[in-house]
């Protein structure tokens, strides 16, 4: 069953066109990787999905409903949740209060404080601290936990491994298996092609705002992905 369907999406920043006629599909229960170099339009695409960037043309359907013009305030209630690039936590709030913000309009589901603390045990210890006092990896965990607290059908993760130590990246990627098994589909936006392809069921490669390659992660070779990534 198709959970997210995007057809012919164009997005602009002023006169600058960031996305061209983009098509993408995410099925229920699958993990999709969206890879591409800096400036390929990956983050813009996620922002279009959650209503932070207006689209000029195209259609976004989620669970069969047209959400193209839905304001960002209503998106989380529909079951779409974004882990933004750079975490963007609330520094005035404690770790636990950040998680509470994610649960403001929670849908019924598996994710609670306890289940978030189960996949990221360190957060339970740090729950009364400001996120500014945490390491980069721990801040990523808070951002993922905050997004999970709404019990999303689709979790969108933007550049989750950027600037993190390999061991921390490994721990975060391990959590995706648990998130997937709890029923959520995942879109991983990454620059690290190898890691993203290994974690995903399907891969889309973006170059200068256009999809240059897509297919099953098992069928696409690393060389094919690299060529599409660099436009060679």
């Amino acid at each position: 069953m198709t959970l997210l369907e995007v057809r012919g999406l164009d997005a602009f920043y002023g006169d600058f066109q960031a996305l061209f006629d983009l098509d993408l599909e995410v099925r229920a229960g699958e993990t999709v990787a969206l890879v591409g170099a800096n400036g390929a339009g990956k983050s813009t695409f996620l922002k279009c999905l959650v209503g932070l960037v207006e689209t000029k043309r195209g259609v976004i359907r989620f669970s069969g409903d047209d959400i193209t013009a839905t304001p960002a305030e209503r998106i989380s209630q529909l079951g779409l949740s974004l882990v933004p690039e750079g975490r963007l936590l609330f520094p005035s709030l404690t770790v636990e209060e950040n998680l509470m913000m994610g649960a403001l309009h929670r849908r019924p589901g598996a994710w609670t404080f306890d289940s978030v603390y189960e996949i990221f045990p360190i957060l339970r210890e740090r729950r009364r601290q400001s996120p500014n006092s945490l390491s980069g990896g721990q801040q990523h965990m808070v951002a993922i936990g905050r997004a999970l607290m709404s019990n999303p059908k689709l979790l969108l993760c933007d550049e989750i491994s950027l600037g993190l130590a390999p061991m921390v990246i490994e721990q975060i990627y391990q959590s995706f298996a648990r998130i997937g098994s709890a029923g959520a589909s995942i879109v991983l936006v990454e620059q690290d092609v190898k890691r993203a392809a290994a974690a995903a069921d399907r891969v889309y490669c973006l170059l200068k705002g256009r999809v240059t390659l897509h297919g099953s992660a098992r069928d696409l070779s690393f060389d094919e992905l690299c060529r599409a990534y660099f436009g060679a």
């Binding site: 949740s81 933004p84 005035s92 403001l104």
Partner: protein
């Protein structure tokens, strides 16, 4: 003993100064804009107190605070929704300053047209002259009540912001107005309530100050000046900083008047000037 009494009186008036500034601090802290018309709203509340007092003279001005606070909350909410939300998200801070400046000029002239230029005051009856003796000091009951009310409002505001879901939403919106949208929060609606609260607090300060001293349609500038000094001295956006800043200004003003009876608020302004030079971020300036 006279100096101790002066300092105690400075604390009493300072609590009120803190209340003048806390509404402004709330707006600066959450929306990152300076409401230049804040002083005019303080004076408008005082005029409303005068009008209501004229209509129902049997009711004490402190009781009249209840309807005035409700009206000002509604006024702030509607004004934010209709006017300020259109410019608050702009990166240029001058847009908000110019809009509120224009509003201040219009309000001042409307109040002048409606109430004239004569000084007014709100009479508090026998309560105005009542005093109690504490440790040998004679302290007015009314100023004590005012300090108590100011402190209670500060504590209530602090509890709302730190212990409630609404407070969490306000703090998160102050941190990042775009990201809260992903949590289902409409920042415009949060700003409406915050402006309502800020003007409700300003209206309390306006009525209490009108009981303590004379005011005219031109008093808004003076009230804004104190509110602004309180906010900057305390640290932009810090509520307890505003309270402490207000108390410091009040004490220095009254002690200065003991030394130099013609000084008016000169020494309070000098304290502000020195404070900004020594601690540009204010006493609790975490948000600058």
């Amino acid at each position: 003993m006279i100096w101790v009494e002066t300092i105690v009186n400075g604390v009493l008036v300072g609590g009120l100064y803190g209340l003048l500034g806390v509404g402004l601090a709330l707006i600066v802290g959450v929306m990152r804009v300076v409401n230049v018309s804040h002083g005019e709203f303080i004076v408008l509340a005082a005029f409303m107190g005068v009008s209501l007092s004229g209509l129902v003279p049997s009711i004490h001005p402190l009781v009249l605070l209840v309807p005035i606070v409700l009206v000002f909350f509604a006024l702030g909410y509607v004004m934010q929704a209709a006017l300020f939300n259109k410019i608050v998200a702009r990166p240029d801070p001058f847009a908000a300053i110019l809009l509120t400046f224009g509003l201040a000029v219009v309000m001042r002239n409307v109040m002048l047209e409606g109430y004239g230029a004569d000084p007014r005051t709100l009479t508090a009856g026998t309560l105005a002259h009542a005093s109690v003796r504490i440790f040998g000091l004679s302290i007015g009951v009314l100023p004590l009540l005012m300090l108590g009310l100011s402190t209670a409002l500060f504590v209530a505001l602090q509890l709302v912001l730190t212990r409630t879901t609404f407070g969490r939403i306000v703090r998160a919106t102050a941190d990042n107005r775009e990201v809260v949208r992903l949590m289902g929060v409409n920042p415009g609606r949060v700003y409406n309530v915050v402006m309502g609260l800020a003007l409700a607090l300003a209206s309390v300060a306006g009525v209490l100050l009108a009981i303590r001293s004379n005011f005219t349609a031109y008093s808004g500038v003076e009230r804004l000046l104190i509110a602004f000094e309180v906010v900057v001295l305390g640290g932009l956006g810090s509520f307890w900083g505003a309270m402490l800043g207000g108390i410091l200004l009040g004490v220095v003003q009254l002690v200065g008047l003991k030394f130099d009876p013609n000084a008016g608020p000169l020494y309070a302004h000098l304290l502000f000037f020195v404070g900004v030079l020594l601690r540009p971020n204010g006493l609790f300036g975490a948000r600058t």
